[in-house]
């Protein structure tokens, strides 16, 4: 499976996932549902923040996309809740819909995510067919049905890292 790295503004789905199998299965599920939107993968929380803000400590949004972030919670370096917190605290980044897609069904994770302003919380089912269905719903809703407010014009650094 090849993930094409592309211009940030064309990216429509940011998949934050550290497990290669889950990453691959997610991409298969997306393709199976004919979701051909451009996908960018970040393998930990730091990579996700670097993608959105340029660096972990930056407060400046550097991407217009994606249309949706699929965020795992248990991640190396910086965990998913922290990524979510930073995004939802930012006046521009908080407009980007974030769907937590995680193994955890712990109530505290769910409650914490919603308190931080997550848009959806989905537990990854073990059954691949169910997972494919869930991904289909996500794609249908966030990429097709959902309307997003316009983003402010953002200066895109052409030499950005990713």
């Amino acid at each position: 499976m090849k993930v094409v790295i592309m211009n940030k503004n064309e990216v429509e789905i940011l998949l934050v996932e550290d497990n290669p199998s889950d990453e691959e299965l997610a991409i298969i599920a997306l393709k199976n549902n004919n979701i051909t939107n451009k996908i960018q993968v970040a393998r930990d929380g730091a990579e996700a923040l670097e993608y959105i803000f340029g660096s972990v400590d930056s407060e400046t949004l550097i991407c217009v996309g994606p249309m949706v972030v699929l965020l795992d919670l248990k991640l190396p370096k910086i965990d998913g809740l922290e990524v979510l917190k930073k995004m939802k605290a930012h006046p521009e980044a908080k407009k980007i819909p974030v769907v937590v897609l995680t193994s955890s069904s712990e109530e505290r994770d769910m409650v914490e995510s919603y308190l931080l302003g997550v848009n959806s919380y989905i537990r990854k089912p073990v059954d691949f067919n169910q997972f494919t269905e869930a991904v289909q719903q996500i794609g249908l809703y966030w990429l097709l049905l959902n309307k997003q407010p316009p983003h402010k014009q953002i200066l895109v650094k052409s030499n950005s890292k990713i």
Binding site: N19, L25, S104, P125
Partner: protein
Amino acid sequence: MKNVTDLKQKERTVEEALEYAKSIVDTLREPLIVLDANLKVVSANRTFYQTFKTKPEETEGQLIYSLGNQQWNIPKLRELLEEILPRNTSFDNFEVEHDFPHIDKRTMILNARRIPGPPAKPRIMLLAIEDITKRRKAEEELKEHRNHLEKLVENRTAKLYKELTERKKSEDKLKEAFQEIKKREKELEMTNEHLDSFAYSVSHDLRAPLRAINGFSQVLLNTYGDKVDEEMRHYLDRISEGAKKMGQLIDDLLSFSRSTRGEIKYEQIDVENIVNDLIKAHLDIELDRDIEFVVNPLGKIEADKEMLKVVFANLLQNAIKFTTNREKAHIEIGSEQKGDHIQFYVKDNGIGFDMKYKDKLFKAFQQLHTDEKFTGSGIGLATVESIVSKHGGNIWAEGEVDKGATFYFTLPSKTHVGD
């Protein structure tokens, strides 16, 4: 003549004085004797005779020591009368204790005085005997009483002190026990924390490989469907089925562990709402089956909503599962007030069970049915049992092979909302 008259007059005066002195002496309540220089009794007063049980004729003219079978032959008295008195004119307050053979033991205070007179006249002396036996006895009794009282107080104080010491000891022990409990509590808290993080990683890390196993066997099937023969398909199905089952097992285990360690959050619950929601969810899945649900009034109760949901979900799932063979499944849910508890029941017309296994029903990982379509994780009823007993209730079941089963559980109708 005048001299005679004077003399007579003087004599009368002396007689009067003597009489006067005699009546004073007789009136005295203390025994009194008058002795001459040879220590012979000149006279004694009434009290003396009464006290020492003797008579004047036996006494007067006798040597004091020989009185009453020599009962007055007291060494101390002799010393006083023969040695001290000749040198002094008097002695006061000499205490003498003596055992009088016919009278008893007496304690006396002796006072003696030489009565001055003209040198020519025989000297006489007055011996006053104060019997202080009774006083002494009273004093001694008082002393004894006081000693007794002192001893009593001492004993009481000692006992009190001992009690106090013992109480302090038990207080110390209690304190120690309390500290031990605190320590245990802390250990338990830590264990719980460990368990918590363990459960967290189980829920997260153990499921990820299962997704890979299930997911990629599905992908294999989907991608190479046309090249996969029946046998290969069968094996791939088994692989993904196994992974799915293990996923369910992990979920059930987590639910069980949550039910045993989680704190109860009491709230007012409409039980019928919970049951009806669960039934609706089940009906959505079991579309091909004919199941008749009868929900009798279930009322409201104070309990943990999420936990109670788990209880009914498990019992309903079981009822649905074990009626699979029935053409028409009948599942009835109801409740009844029993004293200060509400008793709920879930009754089905399924395959039932043998009552001799009734105690194994609620044990974790125990399965009564070997038929594959009835097997579960073996944790469902253990979870239910744990939740019910955590709420202070009981659970049991009645059944007969092939004649259905009824699960009963009770919950206290009044709990701790607002505590």
